[in-house]
Symmetry: C2
Subunit: 344 residues, 2 copies
């Protein structure tokens, strides 16, 4: 095993934003470099950078870039407009707003202050991932089979990940694990990214069709579920990748503990219940087409559906708090009742 999960997925270098190009994984490992805030917005929107924490850091860095680019004679107006533009890239992701807001407060003072705030936000996210790993590991027993949905590994946070952080830690402490990886249609972040990360870390796993999760639960093969989150309301309702709700309902049916792993920046104190969370509807072509590598190593997009049919593509769903056993955060494992206390 290696400790790659401690490395950054997004960082500043020579006053430019560097990030792992997640759309090219698992076929190619490349770094995407953004010199200005519009390019960082593009990276968020097209999911070059994705995952709650990584998006948050991208938003924070973009906000600093905007401050840096703002003309002196139109400074406040420029950063105000940039803020709106950045926030519109992925409307469901709470971390994006956390990142943007924490930097915006300082950006109104100066670009230098904004830079410090952005770096601090990124560091804090990586640190949160590390702590989530430690707390989460405390509830993973030896010989555990864990189901995870979508991608919440080291690529999804600045480092360590959220859902995978406890799994990395448990593996590091020599616990025997097996991870069932939901492929996570339509964009296959599980099959493409989570499987890639688990491979990199040397953790035993298998990709399964999203449809198979309940079946393995019914057969006693899954002992616990851990997923990440995109936004958590103060009552504990959680927006995460489409399909999370379906797995949570099945887990409840079979009495399997279902945990959300997320830093506090994913919690939205302005949001009282899941009903208030906007659900991003993405391009139907993400469902109708599939991108992958052919036998000659060329990335191609193929139509995998009836050519005259349309598709619906809600990117997220909301899992009510009643299906969630606990929330693994950087301050410990908390219940939905405690969330309301913390954010009141």
């Amino acid at each position: 095993m290696n400790n790659n999960f401690e490395k950054r997925s997004i960082w500043l270098e020579n006053r430019k934003v560097y990030m792992i190009e997640q759309n090219l994984l698992p076929h190619k490992y490349e770094i995407f470099i953004s010199e200005n805030y519009k390019k960082t917005c593009f990276a968020i929107k097209t999911m070059i950078v994705r995952g709650a924490g990584a998006i948050g850091a991208a938003g924070a860095f973009a906000m600093w870039q905007a401050a840096n680019e703002a003309p002196k004679n139109n400074y406040n107006n420029f950063i105000e407009k940039a803020k709106e533009e950045i926030e519109a890239t992925r409307p469901t992701a709470r971390d994006l707003f956390s990142g943007v807001e924490s930097v915006y407060e300082k950006a109104v003072i100066s670009p230098e202050e904004a830079l410090k705030a952005a770096q601090k936000f990124a560091d804090k996210n990586a640190e949160a991932g590390k702590k989530i790993g430690k707390y989460g590991n405390s509830i993973i027993e030896d010989y555990t089979n864990i189901l995870t949905h979508c991608n919440a590994g080291r690529l999804a946070l600045v480092a360590h990940g959220s859902a995978l952080a406890p799994i990395y830690e448990a593996h590091k402490s020599s616990k025997k694990l097996f991870v069932y990886v939901d492929e996570t249609r339509p964009r296959n972040q599980g099959a493409r990214l989570t499987a890639w990360e688990l491979n990199e870390a040397g953790i035993r796993h298998a990709i399964i069709p999203d449809n198979a999760a309940a079946w393995y639960m019914s057969q006693g093969k899954i002992n616990m579920v851990i997923t990440g989150a995109d936004r958590i309301a103060t009552n504990g309702d959680t927006a995460n990748k489409i399909g999370t709700l379906e797995k949570a309902i099945a887990a409840k049916e079979y009495g399997i503990p279902f945990y959300i792993a997320a830093p506090l920046s994913t919690f939205d104190k302005e949001c009282k219940t899941g009903k208030e969370i906007p659900i991003e509807e993405r391009d139907q072509n993400e469902v109708l087409y599939q991108k992958g590598q052919d036998k000659d190593g060329i990335i191609r997009e193929v139509l995998v559906a009836s050519p005259d049919s349309e598709a619906l593509n809600p990117a997220f769903d909301v899992t009510p708090a009643k299906f969630i056993t606990g929330y693994i955060t950087e301050i410990g494992i908390i219940t939905s009742e405690q969330i309301a206390e913390i954010f009141k």
Copy 2:
């Protein structure tokens, strides 16, 4: 609208077995012709023909072909071995065994008797589809949104289909419908075949990622669920395409009626509960790769997962009877208690 759903998906012509090549749909409509039982076995195994009823008819026709090919001096032995070979092509499908057995009884007498039995089995299946349509239509109200999983339209039975039969009938009687079509990974029979069939019949629908079903249920968008079945135990437990269980659990959570539509040939009187049903594990490459049409119209297979990871691919799951509201059959809509009565 047209009445294509009344046409056969598999039939005899010039003493050869004709079937719609389902692997080429929706991109190409072609007929596959089989001149001998081994070729029909190949068609079942590779899913050129698929869907419970269509497989049953293919098995019946294959059994006749074997009788026809059997050498006089080794007749019984030959058809005995052929029977085993045909039955091994798709071990979960009850209809396959129904088809093979009903013809085998006559094949031991003569190839001519086998031919009559095979044709009778196919006719009966088409007739069952028609009646399933009529009974099912009686419980569909005007303005209903229906979820279906996998493919159980006209391609899946000899004609009319099972799960889609009531939908065709309701549409024919001018009821306003909208069908949510689970894409049904890993082989996408929903996106490829069900969407194609609904298009052909002019029925409004949208393909959704399998992950989205529970979300639409939670939003009150789905009024009922109808799926087909591959094998039904006498206690009502039902084996069907992987993911059926997950949708059934979610439907129960939201109080949405969940129906199985299947001819009596899908019920296995030897099978007391779902635990006795063997679950076919298929090639992991069906999960790791996706086949589709590129922009130049060429069918290509692309890797959609991390190249160093493995996948699990259970083709079916078992939905316990407690999640099933009723069974739409050619003798009416029955409950799990009635199944035990009928098959005792």
